[in-house]
């Protein structure tokens, strides 16, 4: 048991310990270029142990465990953690005890029988259903389906502990159209903890097909400082600097432009941002984090004002703050602060079918709709400045999408643009673990090449 490991660690380290044990099983099915090609299974288990000894932190991980951490695995793992602590950093880390008086952990739906029990044939069936609706003349389709079940246990020497099971389901599809030297790829994915509903699969098909239909015609790129709408997927370039800047780690390092802006109006007043580990049905949700801190929904930006940064135990200790429950750890290495479900609010819910552009195109005389950029995450992201060629973008003329734009680049500063929001769309959706609508920004630089 992980409890045995903690017991042993408590006896040999003078400053306590915490540990995570995780096991997962994954089943995958892949259709390559329209053909069912492979099926796979993965079984993996491992444990990660952190100790504090003589004021120093040591960490060790191993996959040499199976169903559990037996005594034969515990001793060598602890030896390595203590050896790591001999050179480890000095830190007054206190492992959080259980709440007093005792409070149960928050409940959140993370395990779905339908997903856990789905057969290989069910997975193949989903793939075939998608292929039948995505294949078209001159195009090739790849589809991948993935189902995962996980079991997690965390515990520390102060007596806090928790365990939960989870399921995850992923469906991704990409459609390739190569005409001469023009390569067009349109893709989308479903990610959830439960099996996707028929409506969710139909939405995936509609999303790919509508973006593909609009992309068949290539038009000239516009140029200048324009109204640009970023789809929920295209929004990554604008979101990445913000989430990096709100990480307690970047704040501690002194590289976050938001580090000194707590309580200040930095964004459009319609913009709010939260991290929510308690959303039911999301694969990133969990009742407690990987350091035994109970989960809670955390408002990071409210009506454009910076409220909080995310912290794990270590960054919180250094920042003389408290953990916000964002400790995330793998089998190897130490915990780091990480987001769970990022939720952007602003804009209205849609009624009826979602339109590409989220209803924000109407009064744009000449502009751009950006669905994917090349090179997001490169360069100095935290600083906010970006310049990216488009991978998939459309020209908007007199409120209508007139075709795909190939040779264009968009540039700007994310922090400045978040003050020049032209509107939030009615098409909010999950893209990976981010919930966001399309967002329109004014005066974005668009260059033609």
């Amino acid at each position: 048991m992980i409890a045995q490991l903690i017991d042993l660690a408590r006896r040999r380290s003078d400053g306590g310990a915490d540990a995570l044990w995780r096991r997962f099983e994954r089943t995958t099915v892949a259709f390559e270029w329209g053909r069912l090609k492979s099926a796979g299974t993965t079984e993996e288990a491992g444990a990660n142990l952190r100790v504090r000894h003589r004021g120093r932190i040591g960490v060790a991980g191993t996959t040499a465990v199976d169903g559990d951490v037996g005594a034969q695995h515990a001793a060598p793992l602890l030896d390595r953690a203590l050896a790591s602590a001999e050179l480890g950093e000095t830190l007054d880390l206190e492992f959080p005890g259980p709440p007093s008086p005792p409070v149960p952990l928050p409940t959140v739906a993370t395990f779905f029988d339908r997903a856990a029990n789905a057969s290989l044939a069910d997975l193949i069936g989903i793939g075939r259903w998608l292929l039948a609706r995505l294949e078209r003349e001159g195009c090739r389709v790849n589809v991948a389906i993935e189902r995962e079940t996980t079991a997690t246990r965390v515990a520390n020497s102060a007596g806090a502990e928790g365990e939960y099971r989870g399921t995850g389901f992923g469906v991704s599809a990409d459609v390739w159209r190569i005409a001469g030297d023009d390569v067009l790829v349109v893709s989308d994915a479903f990610e959830g903890a439960d099996l996707p509903s028929d409506a969710a699969l139909a939405a995936l098909v509609a999303s790919i097909n509508s973006r593909l239909d609009h992309a068949l015609r290539v038009v000239a790129a516009p140029e200048g400082a324009l109204s640009v709408v970023f789809t929920p997927a295209g929004l990554s370039a604008l979101m990445l600097p913000v989430t990096q800047g709100l990480s307690g780690k970047a704040v501690l390092q002194g590289i976050s432009p938001l580090g000194a802006k707590l309580g200040e109006q930095v964004f459009d007043p319609r913009f709010s941002l939260a991290d929510d580990p308690l959303r039911g049905g999301r694969p990133a949700s969990r009742p407690l984090d990987d350091e035994c801190v109970p989960s809670r929904t955390l408002a990071l930006v409210e009506t454009g004002v910076v409220q909080r940064f995310i912290y794990d135990l270590e960054t919180a200790t250094r920042a003389k703050s408290t953990s916000t429950g964002h400790g995330s750890r793998g089998i190897f290495g130490k915990p780091v602060p990480a987001y769970t479900n990022i939720v952007v609010s602003g804009g209205a819910q849609h009624a009826g079918p979602v339109q590409l552009g989220g209803g924000l195109l109407g009064d744009i005389r000449d502009g751009l709709l950006v669905d994917e950029l090349i090179g997001v995450g490169q360069g100095n992201v935290t600083g906010g400045a970006f310049s990216h060629p488009v991978a998939l973008a459309y020209r908007i003329e007199r409120g209508e999408i007139t075709g795909r734009v190939k040779d264009a680049a968009v540039a700007g500063n994310a922090y400045e643009l978040w003050k020049r929001v032209g509107g939030f769309g009615n098409d909010a959706r999950w893209t990976g673990s981010r919930w966001a609508p399309s967002v329109r920004f004014e005066g974005v630089s668009v260059a033609r090449r």
């Binding site: 492979s38 299974t41 040499a64 001999e86 390569v183 360069g379």
Partner: protein, 462 residues
């Protein structure tokens, strides 16, 4: 271990079965600023089975508990039968090999105390911090591993290897008021402890450059003659062209196949490109790939003409070509897929020096180093670490935010001058594809001139 794997193979009822087992010892020491962030030692182990029944697809199983080996061989066979594939998957012939290859460990990192590794990276980190008060943050990482590797397949191949790797990386962040700049140093070798000594100069240099970039202007966006330094030229050929030469992209996609028809002209006669998994001592070098195929030097572009591509046994059979030893997996957690090894633009005989390349450039950009690059097939974007303007045939002022963007076909065709000063870039990091990252690869090139390329920076500032 080989006997145990061979016994497990014998139980398989599939027409083709292969098993890989890996045991990896690794250590990592990380400094952030003056602070030791972590020093860890890890042991990772696991196995991978892939099975193929006639008329079936690939059945694949990976696992961390070796007690599960026999069960996983059975499971992989069942999965293969569960996915009928028509036309059937075929594998190109590769003669069986038996080898016990112990690569040169060059000072086995497993015998070096972690405290010494800490001292080494602390010194390199200190060199970056010591450059200036403007260096507000650093990240310095030492990482090493030794992997013991076993591979068997049902066609008689039996391999045992001991594979070393060692890498150093440094990031220096310079800041003045709201301006933040960074410099990156990266060294990655398929060697050991002896090869990472005396590397302080490179760390100091990137920190100095980060400070200098604080005062450097942003490059003015536009179209210029651009000279790529060997590092950026290597990253460019890997990202922008190399991935298209991986046969899994074309073998079942008629349109892609047409785009990549052998014999098509890709560049001027001066352009020669290849991938060499057998080059001595490089990070992408191994005697065999993860299907037991010997590695080799494969010509991809010769005198500007597309002449070859990179294959696994499956893609080679499907296209009627020969396997090239490019089926690679990052670990036992993954199936082998078509990957590059050490990819290069060959130096041009009589291609001359860097000075020869810039001599007739009136106004151009010298783009150096790489912060990153991404390709969306025919479109690419690369962020250079820094640049220098070229004015009247001379290297002039430092500029920052040099982003190269363009269309692959046009850009390859505009390479008009290639130097003779070829070198391999022994960098860390690695290549990512289909969720498998980082795969150890190396790139090499001389200085390369593109007669006209789009440089973004403040492009589109309206």
């Amino acid at each position: 271990m080989i006997d145990r794997l061979t016994a497990a193979l014998a139980r398989s009822r599939a027409d083709y079965t292969e098993i890989r087992v890996e045991r990896t010892w690794s250590t990592a020491v990380t400094f952030r600023g003056r602070r030791l962030e972590s020093a860890t030692a890890s042991e990772d182990q696991g196995g991978f089975v892939r099975a193929l029944h006639a008329g079936g697809g690939w059945g694949v199983a990976s696992f961390t508990s070796l007690d599960r080996l026999e069960a996983m061989v059975t499971r992989a066979g069942e999965l293969s039968r569960a996915v009928p594939v028509d036309p059937p998957i075929r594998l190109a012939d590769v003669p069986p090999h038996q080898a016990d290859a112990l690569l040169d460990l060059d000072g086995d990192v497993r015998g070096v105390p972690i405290a010494e590794k800490k001292r080494l990276i602390e010194a390199y980190n200190g060199a970056m911090l010591g450059v200036s008060d403007r260096i507000v943050d650093t990240l310095a990482v030492y990482r090493d591993e030794v992997s013991e590797y076993w591979y068997v397949n049902s066609q008689g191949t039996r391999l045992h290897e001991l594979r070393p790797e060692v890498s150093l990386s440094g990031t220096a962040v310079a800041r003045r008021n709201g301006t933040i700049e960074k410099g990156l140093e990266s060294i990655g070798l398929r060697r050991g402890w002896s090869s990472v000594q005396d590397k302080v100069a490179g760390f100091r240099e990137v920190a100095e450059r980060a400070v200098q970039l604080l005062d450097a202007p942003m490059v003015k966006g536009g179209t210029y003659p651009v000279i790529l330094d060997p590092e950026l030229a290597g990253v460019f050929i890997h990202e922008a062209f190399g991935h298209l030469s991986e046969a899994d992209f074309v073998y079942e996609n008629p349109q892609a196949r047409e785009m990549m028809t052998l014999g098509r002209r890709f560049g001027k006669p001066v352009l020669n490109v290849g991938d060499n998994g057998a080059a001595a001592g490089l990070r992408g070098t191994l005697p065999f790939d993860d299907e037991g195929t010997p590695t080799q030097d494969s010509a991809l572009i010769t005198d500007g003409i597309l002449v070859g591509r990179l294959h696994s046994r499956e893609t080679a059979a499907a296209m009627g070509e020969r396997p090239t030893g490019n089926a690679r997996a990052i670990s036992f957690r993954h199936a082998p897929i078509v990957r590059m090894t050490n990819t290069y633009i060959a130096g041009a005989k009589g291609g001359g020096t860097f000075e020869d390349l810039i001599g007739d450039v009136k106004l151009g950009v010298y783009a150096c180093g790489a912060f990153g690059g991404q390709t969306m097939l025919e479109n690419f974007s690369f962020t250079a670490a820094y640049g220098r303007m070229i004015r009247d045939g001379q290297v002039a002022e430092l500029v920052k935010d040099v982003v190269l963007a363009g269309n692959l076909f046009q850009t390859l065709d505009r390479i008009d001058h290639i130097g003779a000063d070829f070198r391999w870039n022994q960098m860390g990091g690695g290549c990512g594809k289909a969720g498998q990252y980082p795969l150890p690869v190396t790139e090499g090139a001389p200085h390369v001139r593109i007669e006209e390329a789009l440089v973004g920076g403040d492009v589109g500032k309206a």
